[in-house]
């Protein structure tokens, strides 16, 4: 990895990954709604159309099923397709090509064909957008064998995981969150991949392990700062990949701390926080010094009104409260 760094925000880090991959590999192309329209996908597609032309940067009608299927079909035919859904709620229309076709394709054809496609979905929460423009459905995809699911929380990982997703021979669901788009940090300039399936320890600690995902990772970091003031040392893990789960990283941390808080950006029931908790119960029950506490969205559709949004989305405060329950 180059040491030559400069500051980039999360959206521009994704943009740089796309520029570099499309430059390096003629088989990479981007398709989906709004790739021509800056207001639609933030800055993630900036300059791509001008540089690579409309054959490889393809804006589309609102036909998620056919367009996503086309990305899958192109991948089966040897291309590396990136299909963007600027609001991942609309991916519900594309469940057939994602799950029935892409996820199963390699298996049900006995390994005769693989599907190197990236399903890129943006969680668009907040701003009083209500139930159909706010959903985080990463757990649906994580349930399905054959898919990989990545959810970078930092600009550097957004770039490195987009590159890894494009290079991967299997279908990868890449989920980002508008709330992260303007976070900035120093990002290496070269084209590097962050390995899929590896979490990262963002902060070392002794008393409790906090696993954070996507926008809840920066919230978990703030929570750790606050807890430190109260003399509690929290270890913060950035999950980065939801599937395959980096079990060892979580278990090793838990071996040290014996206490676990999982902060997931999806609904509480039947989701990522439940999966991690069950994994720990199966594999490390005796390590636990206290019950696992989950921070997640309540089992309720996303509301519109700001007064309801304020209680709907967990933040730093809820993570602190969760830790205080068990430490």
């Amino acid at each position: 990895m180059s040491t030559n760094k400069r500051t980039l925000n999360y959206a521009l880090a994704i943009n740089e990954a796309l520029h570099q991959m499309m430059e390096m590999d003629d088989s990479v192309f981007l398709i989906g709604q709004g790739v021509k329209s800056p207001w639609y996908v933030g800055n993630t597609a900036r300059g791509l159309l001008q540089r690579f032309g409309p054959d490889r940067v393809i804006d589309t009608p609102v036909s998620e099923n056919a367009v996503t299927g086309a990305a899958v079909g192109a991948a089966i035919a040897g291309m590396k397709a990136v299909v963007i859904h600027p609001r991942m709620d609309f991916m519900m229309y594309a469940m057939d090509p994602i799950i029935n076709e892409a996820a199963n394709w390699h298996y049900m054809n006995g390994g005769r064909a693989s599907v190197p496609v990236v399903f890129w979905g943006v969680i668009n929460r907040g701003g009083e957008q209500a139930a159909q423009h706010s959903q985080a459905i990463h757990a649906f995809f994580s349930h399905v064998p054959g898919l990989k699911v990545v959810m970078p929380a930092t600009p550097s990982d957004a770039k490195g995981l987009m590159i890894a997703a494009i290079q991967d021979p299997d279908p990868v669901v890449f989920v980002d969150d508008r709330w992260l788009h303007y976070n900035e940090e120093s990002v290496p300039e070269d084209a590097y991949a962050v390995p899929i399936g590896q979490g990262a320890i963002r902060r070392e600690g002794e008393d409790v392990t906090v696993v954070g995902l996507s926008y809840l990772l920066p919230e978990a970091m703030r929570a750790a700062d606050e807890l430190k003031k109260e003399g509690i040392s929290a270890e913060v893990i950035d999950l980065r990949t939801v599937k395959p789960l980096d079990k060892n990283l979580i278990l090793q941390s838990l071996y040290k701390t014996g206490r676990l808080v999982v902060a997931d950006v999806g609904w509480k029931s039947y989701g990522v926080s439940g999966e991690i908790t069950a994994m720990v119960a199966e594999e490390a029950f005796r390590m636990l010094k206290a019950p696992v506490v989950r921070v997640a969205l309540p089992d309720c559709p996303a509301p519109a009104s700001q007064s309801l949004e304020a209680v709907y989305y967990p933040r730093c405060r809820q993570i602190i409260d969760a830790v205080l329950k068990i430490v």
Binding site: N65, I76, R112
Partner: protein, 311 residues
């Protein structure tokens, strides 16, 4: 056509004896469509099939042995025993796959055509689907997108008049399917899908148009299943699960595509009866070898269950 027919019919007894466990949708009676279209294709062109795709696989050049082995769930099958009859594939000859989610592979063929357009590699893609797939929204999305981007894609609707067990007029407002291409400015036609020469000539013109970059073409090929929708009961005519009128079956049996083509070749002196018989003997021997190959092949081992989930 004879190879497909003999292959399909060879499966009837094993299906009835319950030796074949996976659902099998026989292509008997519809052979002229796969053969007429695939005769116009290069090896590198792409074909996507559906649940009834043994014929597409064989017509594109797939070998009989791996097909039969797959249907019997063997490790040597074309999908290594992970797919069964509904997932036949051979990417090396451009048979890119088949799947029973109705309409599910139409958009995959759309994407393969998009890949060809991006690469400018002159390949064409063919999507074979049935009349039942006209009930799926993805078909209409795909028609629009293919036409909008002028993709080299041939839509081939094999209209056998029944969507599983439902007559076409019980699931569509009319029975003229090809016209659904017209609002998307797609050249369309309806042909006799049991006339292999008509299929070949129509497909050839259509594929030339695709290769010239003039956009997709939609062919509706009228045909009829000589067997039922899916075995075992349903693959025998006259049982309670095949509700089609006996008279209708009889009429379409008279229009058997192989018999029609044989009559044409014999009366025009292009072939002799003994040449046809020799062809059948050779094909039957190939099919016998395929069953022997299948019988000698192992089932996938339990410890291999999770192979191929990821590459």
């Amino acid at each position: 056509m004879i190879r497909i027919r003999r292959c399909e019919e060879s499966l009837v007894e094993p299906i009835l004896r319950d030796e074949v466990k996976c659902p099998v949708h026989l292509y008997s009676g519809e052979e002229a469509i796969a053969v007429g279209v695939c005769a116009c294709l290069e090896r590198t062109d792409y074909v996507f099939g559906n649940h009834r795709s043994h014929g597409h696989y064989l017509a594109k050049g797939g070998a009989v042995g791996p097909l039969i082995a797959e249907i019997f769930g063997k490790k040597t099958g074309c999908s290594r025993g992970r797919g069964g009859s509904m997932h036949v594939i051979d990417p090396e000859i451009g048979m890119m796959g088949s799947a029973p989610i109705v309409g599910g592979t139409i958009s995959l063929a759309l994407g393969a055509a998009l890949a060809s357009k991006i690469r400018k590699d002159q390949r064409v893609s063919v999507s074979f689907f049935g009349d039942g797939a006209t009930g799926e929204g993805v078909l209409y999305e795909s028609l629009n997108f293919a036409s909008l981007k002028k993709l080299p894609l041939l839509f081939v609707c094999e209209n056998n008049l029944y969507s599983t067990h439902l007559p076409i007029l019980e699931c569509r407002i009319n029975d003229v399917i090809h016209e659904i291409g017209k609002p998307c400015s797609i050249a369309t036609c309806r042909i006799d899908g049991n006339n292999v020469i008509e299929v070949y000539e129509t497909a050839k013109d259509a594929l030339d148009q695709c290769r010239r970059g003039e956009g997709p073409v939609f062919i509706e090929a009228l045909t009829y299943r000589l067997r039922g929708h899916v075995g075992p009961d349903d693959n025998i005519q006259g049982t309670h699960t095949d509700i089609r009128p006996a008279e209708e079956i009889k009429e379409w049996t008279r229009r058997d595509p192989i018999q029609q083509f044989e009559r044409h070749l014999l009366t025009s002196g292009m072939i002799t009866l003994s040449e046809i018989e020799a062809m059948i003997t050779e094909i039957d021997s190939e099919i016998r070898d395929a069953y022997q190959f299948t019988q000698n092949s192992e089932f996938p081992q339990p410890h291999e269950l999770k192979n191929y989930v990821y590459k």
